[in-house]
């Protein structure tokens, strides 16, 4: 009576052990190349290392946006933590779409930072279920750096008042009339400047 230790069973077990070892090695070496979609799935299953990978991937931009808005490193770090902690707790609700997670994190960072800046109640940010399909791949650091340089050169290429209006809108959460008040420009001028700046941005981003 030794069916449990017969050679066939042993070889199957050895096979699976070897396969699991090989797969874990591959998974380790490809950690940085795992897609956002895979990382979100792993998050939903409680894999902490997936959160660390996403933090390394997007934490820098999230922190930079928050800091640019609130101008306080402590508050910016708090926002950074809150956003990733929220992602950790609600990963199973997150509807991941290709390239969408980066955009979703940036929008969250900006909204939370502006709420803190203006000391208002949290505004309606993007929902976890909301898809933000970006045609851009933000998953690799190289692609992120390339896109960053395109955006920055587009901003640099804007006339000063247009760039100022866009920055007041984006980094300080101002509306048309608030920008008009701040700059002393007529409302219509502000609207035109913003529309022109946004068109330029679209052109830079459209292939």
């Amino acid at each position: 009576m030794q069916p449990l230790e017969n050679p066939g069973t042993l070889s199957v077990r050895t096979f699976f052990e070897k396969a699991a070892r090989a797969l874990s090695t591959i998974a380790y070496s490809q950690e940085d190349r795992a897609s956002d979609l895979d990382l979100i799935r792993r998050l939903a299953q409680g894999d902490e290392s997936a959160l660390a990978t996403l933090y390394d991937r997007y934490g820098g931009v999230v922190y930079s946006v928050a800091l640019r808005v609130v101008k306080d490193a402590g508050v910016a770090e708090e926002i950074l933590q809150d956003i990733f902690y929220h992602l950790w707790r609600h990963a199973s609700n997150y509807e991941a779409s290709r390239g969408g997670l980066g955009a979703w994190l940036f929008v969250s960072a900006r909204n939370r930072a502006i709420d803190r800046l203006r000391q208002r109640k949290p505004s309606d940010g993007p929902k976890e279920e909301e898809s933000l399909p970006s045609g851009f791949n933000l998953e690799s650091q190289v692609a992120q750096a390339e896109l960053m340089s395109r955006i920055k050169s587009a901003m640099d290429g804007l006339p000063g008042p247009q760039r100022q209006a866009l920055e007041l809108a984006y980094f300080e959460g101002m509306t048309h009339s608030e920008i008009s008040q701040r700059t002393g420009e007529p409302l219509g001028t502000v609207k035109t400047r913003l529309r022109t700046a946004l068109q330029a941005l679209r052109q830079v981003l459209n292939p």
């Binding site: 930079s64 770090e77 896109l147």
Partner: protein, 252 residues
Amino acid sequence: MFDEYALGVLEGEEKRSFESHVKGCPECSPKLGEARARVALLALSAPQAHPSPAAKERLMDRVRAYRPPAPPVRLRAPFWGWGVPLLAAAVIVLAIATVLLVRRNHEMEQRLKDLQGQVVLIKKRETAEMTRAGTVLEILTSPRTLRVSLFAAPAHPVPQGKAFYNPQKGLLFYAANLPRLPSDRTYQLWLVPAQGKPISAGIFATDEHGNGEVLLPSLPPGITAKAFAVTVEPSGGEPQPTGKKVLIGVVS
């Protein structure tokens, strides 16, 4: 207008009318999503800054303190690819184990039956032996039992004779197992009366088996017999016995 709305610069009536339009416009939703993603990229224009390494450590500490409830794990294609052979192997192993166990069970049942049969047999044997012992004891102790002692049987048949004597009617005599006599000798039968000398009842010869007889010899009537005897005498007989007695029978 989508970009302006995504940027958050719209306000008042302009904002409300845009929102009510988007609500009733199926094509608008993806457009708005694209605009939001596009505007979100302005984040990349922020001056690059780096959070302290401690910020990540604090986040991970917080994360480890809360573990999300594990959702039901769905088997995805790669797992099915492994699951089927694994399941098949498990089924085969189980089947083999089952067959072996069933066979073993059968063997054990058979052995149990054999042992039970042996127990019954031993019990029967014991009962039979007890019964026999009881019977032996009964025979040895019962008053109704005839006790007969036996001894070694003689090497040769013992000579014997039977006499039937009626004083008024006469005498019948039969003899058996008498040894053969030399030709000059003969057997002689004697009637020994209660008083007086023996009276000759005649001479007789024997056949090859040692049998001989004397039927109704002439005797004086009314004589009371005390005994009968056979002697070996010279041929023709004697008036009184002279030879050795081979048979004697006393009337009881």
